[in-house]
């Protein structure tokens, strides 16, 4: 079998892994070496499904001793099997990288012989790339569940990011669908990596030349909608992973029916909207200061399909709004639908030098159409009129907004302005 056929088989088997991030590491290029890493990451292309291609995402092999129900490479499937040698992978990676096709390598694998044997193959490949080819670009490598602590430790110095897939959101589902993997075989390396990443980061602060251990952190992935867990279960797990394990990313992958199996749902289309809502909620957990119980609860365990979780929260907490754009804390600005992280930062930055108008907000990239219902500008409230939201805003709310009116000209005459010149 020639390289190109192998590539097609092993890329085809790797495509269900979601991660393509190449961000989080900054490494300067040096004379006589190839490659660097940029902090923001770079997308090199976009596949027909609209997903970014940033890394050469391939399996070492699709031969596997495990029989996970949801996986296309499970032992019991009758598919063509093949295996890359470390040299072949290194050669392709370098060839692609030099042509600026990719930002680096994402290496995963089926399990040959044993988890440790597979990990040894990874280490061999990475050493070849880092030492022989002096490759300085981005490398993300999967940790095989059940791999020994020593091998996890070794590979951390060769890669930019490590990840071990949690696969399914609960122990029961894992036992049912991935009988060869135990929760411990996943959690143990995850905890070890969390510890080592933290430790070497501290070292680095003290000693400039101490080695980097997976400098871009660790991530994981779970399959959505193959098992009965609710969004509440999923988000609580994610929150735990972010807060306790210090994960950089949790990826969600809407289940795509690749196998016919009695234990799996036979839904013809992947649940993309649910996946999308989970990502939105995930962002709220990581960047917007929300707790999972604010987004979903035991009594409302599913995310709304119609509203994004942030709007949903806002509509249920109307007494929190409107907030004044010129004085609200950054954390409160983040809660306004239509104001994202960047916009909130810009508001805080720009309001120090100038009084912001509605036009200014628009220019800064705020979605004013949405935000207007939740903010006041210099005490003036412009939302709520002739829109659906008007009915959602309580009378008391509107009254308060009117009272804060600075522009007395078109303030309803019935309302006595409560703000006087003394202010």
């Amino acid at each position: 079998m020639d390289i190109q056929q192998k590539l097609m088989i092993l890329a085809d088997s790797a495509k269900y892994d979601v991660s393509c991030a190449s961000s989080g590491t900054f490494r300067q290029g040096r004379a006589n070496t190839l490659g660097n890493a940029t902090y923001s990451g770079i997308c090199h292309s976009f596949a027909a499904d609209g997903r970014c291609i940033s890394l050469l995402k391939i399996l070492m092999t699709n031969i596997c001793i495990y029989d996970c129900r949801y996986c296309i490479n499970r032992r019991s499937n009758d598919i063509r099997r093949t295996l890359f040698t470390p040299a072949e992978i290194a050669d392709l990676t370098i060839g692609f990288y030099r042509r600026n096709y990719i930002e680096g390598l994402f290496l995963s694998s089926g399990i040959v012989k044993s988890p440790n044997d597979t990990m040894e193959l990874f280490i061999h490949t990475l050493k070849l790339l880092r030492h022989r080819y002096r490759f300085n670009g981005y490398i993300h490598v999967k940790i095989i569940p059940g791999a020994s602590a020593e091998l996890v430790h070794q590979i951390g110095f060769l890669a930019d990011r490590l990840s071990v897939n949690i696969e399914l959101p609960s122990r029961q589902s894992l036992a049912k669908l991935a009988p060869d993997k135990t929760k411990e075989s996943i959690i143990v390396p995850m905890r070890q990596m969390a510890g080592e990443i933290e430790m070497y980061k501290m070292e680095k602060k003290k000693y400039r030349h101490s080695p980097n251990f997976s400098p871009s952190g660790q991530s994981t992935q779970m399959i959505i909608a193959a098992t009965p867990e609710s969004d509440y279960d999923i988000l609580r797990l994610s929150e735990h992973l972010y807060r306790k394990m210090n994960l950089k990313r949790v990826y969600y992958s809407a289940y795509v029916a690749v196998n016919h199996d009695a234990l799996l749902p036979a839904n013809p289309r992947p649940q993309l909207i649910r996946e999308h809502r989970l990502y939105q909620a995930d962002w709220l957990l990581r960047f917007y200061g929300y707790q999972s119980h604010e987004i979903v609860s035991e009594s409302h365990p599913q995310l709304s399909e119609n509203y994004d979780p942030k709007v949903n929260w806002a509509l249920h907490h109307l007494d929190f709004f409107p907030i004044e754009i010129h004085s609200a804390d950054y954390e409160d600005l983040l809660r306004v639908p239509g104001i994202g992280m960047r916009s909130a930062q810009k508001i805080v930055f720009h309001r120090r030098a100038a009084n912001l108008s509605r036009q200014d907000l628009r220019r800064l990239g705020i979605v004013y159409k949405r935000a207007q219902h939740f903010i006041t500008i210099n005490g003036r409230f412009e939302g709520g009129q002739s829109s659906l939201l008007h009915s959602l805003l309580s009378e008391r709310k509107i009254e308060r907004a009117r009272q804060l009116h600075f522009d007395f000209n078109d303030a309803p005459s019935a309302v006595q302005p409560s703000i006087t010149g003394e202010l």
């Binding site: 190109q4 300067q28 770079i42 596949a47 050469l56 692609f96």
Partner: protein
């Protein structure tokens, strides 16, 4: 009040704006003297490039405004979009009195136009960092063609100098017939006309075909979304993307 012209170079524009600031003149328009058309109603004056005056102004920008302001001006200059000179002049005119606060006045009409231009250039540079495709020629040099909207070579070249420190490469802007050339020691931008035909290295087709096959394989058929693809990767880049171009150039 008059129309002022300069020689089209960045230093030329800096000299001109330095001159206007010194003399406290508000110009009607600023333009490249090569594009100047005789105007019957306005006075015209050409200002010669004065390296010393230009450097003085740049020093003032960095010291009295801030370094990001200087970057913004450079990006605005490289946009080469009609009216960029006045956008830079207005921004600087305010900046030299307002100091670093000028960066906090995104909504101001003297600031907003330059911001818009520089953001456009910044976006194109970032996109091209991903979308440039090199092909190895028979003599071992990696060669890439682009047709950017803006004059991004000076911003793009340092990225590839970092990245491909150990290889010879040429990045060719076909729209402007200029190229950044790097020989593992030095990078320079030279005038270069498009070649009639290129002679590729022996294994070039292997990598090119491998990449195309990889590109086709990696998409998940059940999630096909061509619109999303095109939104992230606009059509105008396709002719120079190995994986999207119909045939080999």
């Amino acid at each position: 009040m008059a129309i002022y012209s300069y020689d089209g170079t960045f230093m030329g524009l800096m000299s001109l704006i330095g001159f206007l600031e010194d003399k406290q003149i508000n110009p009607v328009a600023i333009c490249d003297k090569n594009d100047l058309v005789t105007d019957l109603f306005e006075e015209q004056e050409d200002i010669k490039t004065d390296e010393k005056r230009a450097r003085e102004l740049i020093g003032r920008i960095v010291d009295h405004i801030c370094e990001p302001a200087f970057d913004r001006i450079v990006y605005g200059f490289l946009s080469q979009i009609n009216g960029f000179e006045m956008a830079i002049f207005n921004y600087l005119h305010l900046g030299l009195t307002a100091g670093e606060n000028v960066e906090r006045l995104a909504g101001d009409r003297r600031v907003a136009p330059l911001r818009r231009l520089s953001l456009r250039v910044g976006r194109e540079v970032h996109r091209l960092k991903g979308f440039v495709r090199f092909a190895q020629l028979a003599d071992g040099v990696y060669y890439a063609q682009i047709r950017p909207d803006h004059d991004v070579l000076p911003l793009l070249a340092p990225h590839f100098v970092q990245r491909f420190a150990d290889q010879h490469w040429v990045l060719h802007d076909l729209n402007r017939s200029r190229a950044a050339m790097y020989d593992t020691h030095q990078c320079e931008i030279v005038i270069l006309a498009a070649a009639d035909s290129l002679c590729f290295a022996e294994n070039e087709s292997h990598f090119r075909d491998s990449w195309r096959r990889y590109f086709q394989t990696i998409a998940i058929a059940e999630r096909k979304n061509r619109r999303l693809q095109q939104q992230f990767m606009p059509r105008r880049y396709w002719p120079y993307l190995t994986e999207m171009a119909e045939r080999v150039r």
